[in-house]
């Protein structure tokens, strides 16, 4: 069963399902607004009830991101963020938190540059549990999949409103951890979330897979998180957190982390009302 899995994502989502609770997945860009801010922010998110932390790996050309997260990538790069630095920070985080599942979310090129095998080994050693590569659809993912499997890292795939049933079946058969359903046609942080549409799509996906289904893009607050998680297993919150981190550039890391926690608290509470 999921709960016995050695991978933290499967263990956590299995436990939540058994408790009838919803997963809160929080996204920040590693190194945004500077490298010192990230670890205190991660701990604050955990304290406030984040179940999974998604760490954005800064990339020069983040094609799937809206303006808010684009700026987060730009800030992080300006402070020296990279895939290797991200793995170093994960390694440090793991010294004081061996429990919280961590997913890296980013783009293919930094991983290509490091090499699939070296990346998978280094990520596993650092304590990464899952990887979501936005521009690596299943058609191009076979070689990376082999390395991730060998390293016991789950490869998390996106499903979109445009994905056909046949494709969804194929993707579900390859995916691990959870299915990440993109709530809308658009970039991260877009403003046209249609809750009813998401519910229909999530219900349809349930027929294809046992994997937990988490939903992201366009979830901004407790109300939208709660509405989405009524049908899904979890909600991913990103742009609103990245926007906050950007607004606190130069501030004391502990104070920034505290502010982030206050932003997440009502969303956690909203999910727990379900």
């Amino acid at each position: 069963m999921a709960s016995q899995s050695t991978n933290r994502i499967n263990r956590r989502l299995g436990d939540l399902r058994a408790q009838g609770r919803k997963a809160l997945i929080t996204y920040i860009v590693c190194g945004d607004p500077d490298l010192d801010a990230t670890i205190p922010a991660m701990h604050a998110l955990v304290r406030q009830g984040a179940d999974i932390i998604e760490l954005g790996v800064a990339f020069s050309d983040p094609m799937a991101e809206g303006p808010v997260i684009q700026r987060g990538h730009e800030r992080a790069l300006a402070k020296g963020a990279s895939l290797r630095r991200t793995l170093e920070l994960v390694n440090t985080f793991r010294k004081t938190d061996s429990d919280t599942p961590l997913v890296l979310m980013g783009y293919a090129n930094p991983i290509e540059r490091m090499g699939y095998g070296e990346f998978a080994r280094a990520a596993a050693e650092a304590g990464v549990d899952g990887l979501l590569t936005v521009d690596l659809p299943p058609e191009e993912a076979a070689a990376l999949n082999r390395e991730l499997q060998a390293a016991a890292i789950e490869n998390i795939f996106l499903l979109a409103p445009t994905t056909s049933r046949e494709r969804a079946e194929q993707i579900a058969s390859l995916a691990g951890g959870f299915l990440y359903y993109v709530s809308l046609k658009g970039v991260t942080g877009a403003g046209h979330l249609d809750v009813d549409d998401v519910r229909h799509k999530v219900d349809a996906l349930r027929e294809l897979t046992e994997l937990p289904i988490c939903v992201g893009f366009g979830i901004k607050d407790a109300a939208s998180a709660k509405a989405i998680a009524a049908s899904a297993d979890g909600a991913v919150v990103g742009s609103v957190l990245v926007d906050y981190m950007g607004s606190r550039a130069g501030a004391d890391a502990a104070a920034v982390a505290e502010g982030l926690a206050q932003l997440v608290a009502p969303i956690r509470a909203g999910l727990d009302e379900l």
Binding site: L83, R84, A108, P110, A160, T162, R167, V182, V187
Partner: protein, 402 residues
């Protein structure tokens, strides 16, 4: 020894050896699949091809001439240099061959809105042109830096009824315009057709853009045989994304005696790091939907490029070029800004033809090549666009206010 069939790529999954493919987010995968199905159906459809040929003849003005630049060849002193006059096409560059083709595809999808990215503005103008003709809504994404550099083309697009969207993210040039076009496409995928301007991007774009542009090489091959009674000894074309080069090269790839040179933008010199020459000085990676040679740092971040010509100022290159480089069928070289500018001035003065700064890179290399060849050899250079759009850039370099 077995002969390689260079026309066998891409494979069914859009791969040119290890290059190409479909590296996009899931939302776009169905749109690419739809485009692939439509293109596979239409590419051998006689009605579709007749429509394309008719537009090429009567709207674009094809075939474009193959012109023996006698005076220039004599001054260079060596091989005879022919110019394939894509600068004489409607809208002034080879770009229109592709936008006409893609607009016909758009018509078959029933989508009423087209978007495009542009660097120098030539592809934007060509897209705005076909959109005006078909009554389609058109938005063109252009790096804010390029909007400044290419004010004339920006206004041309506006006159044609297109909206030009300046892109202020990243390095504010062509690569960022392409990011923004992808973001728009993912948002409006139901009613929008993305007209990619070069042989890059996710499959099937590199294939279909190549096929539309191959009219250049098909004509040139026939014109060479008619005018000189034999095939040329060498082909030279500039390579940014690489659409004019692949268009010229592709119909000659099986002709073993024809040498081919793709000329990248050497900027301030390959050793300066300030250039746009991924095939000469880059590594394979993934950007904008395909795997190809890229300009990147050791962390896999795409680095800013430099070229005097906005149309070559791009950190990637079409995946078929990456493959042809590895196969050693085409030799890729680089020409610096100042060499390109000298060729721009030279051709203008000795032939009365003002080339685009992009094409001037090919001209500069052709001069070097011609000097090493005897007078009975021939070179075909793709004169991919006219230089009117670059007059302000050149005046600026000369310190003259126009």
């Amino acid at each position: 020894m077995q002969t390689i069939d260079y026309r066998s790529v891409p494979d069914a999954r859009g791969h040119f050896g290890p290059y190409g493919g479909k590296f996009v987010s899931e939302t776009l995968m169905p749109a690419l699949q739809e485009l692939e199905e439509i293109y596979q159906r239409l590419k051998n459809d006689s009605t579709f091809l007749a429509e394309f040929d008719r537009d090429m003849a009567h709207y674009v003005g094809r075939p474009s001439p193959l012109y023996l630049a006698e005076r220039w060849s004599r001054e260079v002193g060596g091989a005879q240099i022919y110019l394939k006059r894509e600068d004489l096409n409607h809208t002034g560059a080879h770009k229109v061959n592709n936008t006409i083709g893609q607009a016909l595809l758009a018509k078959h999808t029933g989508k009423r809105r087209v978007i495009a990215e542009t660097g120098a503005g030539q592809h934007g103008v060509a897209s705005a042109t076909v959109a005006a003709r078909l009554g389609l809504e058109c938005q063109v994404f252009m790096g804010a830096e390029d909007v400044k550099r290419q004010a004339l083309n920006v206004y041309r697009m506006k006159l044609l009824g297109a909206e030009v969207v300046p892109v202020t993210s990243g390095s504010r040039t062509l690569k960022d315009a392409m990011n923004e076009a992808m973001r728009d496409w993912v948002t409006n995928v139901d009613d929008t057709f993305y007209i990619i301007g070069t042989v890059a991007g996710p499959h099937p774009y590199p294939q279909l853009v190549r096929d539309f542009q191959s009219i250049i090489g098909r004509e040139a091959r026939q014109q060479c045989l008619q005018q000189s009674g034999r095939l040329p000894d060498a082909l030279v074309a500039c390579v940014g994304g690489g659409s004019n080069a692949i268009g010229l090269f592709h119909p000659f790839l099986q002709d073993a005696g024809v040498a081919m040179y793709g000329v990248e933008a050497g900027g301030l010199g390959l050793h300066s790091g300030k250039h746009a020459a991924p095939l000469s000085d880059g590594v394979p990676g993934v950007l904008h939907g395909n795997r190809t040679y890229l300009m990147e740092d050791e962390d896999g971040q795409i680095i800013e490029t430099h070229s005097v010509s906005a149309g070559l100022d791009y950190p990637g290159v079409g995946p078929e070029h990456a493959w042809l480089k590895d196969m050693k069928r085409v030799e890729y070289v680089a020409v610096n800004d100042d060499e390109a500018l000298a060729a721009f001035r030279k051709l203008t003065r000795v032939e009365g033809i003002m080339p685009a700064l992009e094409s001037s890179h090919a001209l500069a290399y052709a001069e070097k090549l011609a000097r090493q060849m005897p007078a009975d050899k021939t070179i075909v250079v793709n004169l991919s666009g006219r230089g009117d759009k670059d007059i302000l850039t050149v005046a600026d370099i000369d310190g003259i206010e126009v």
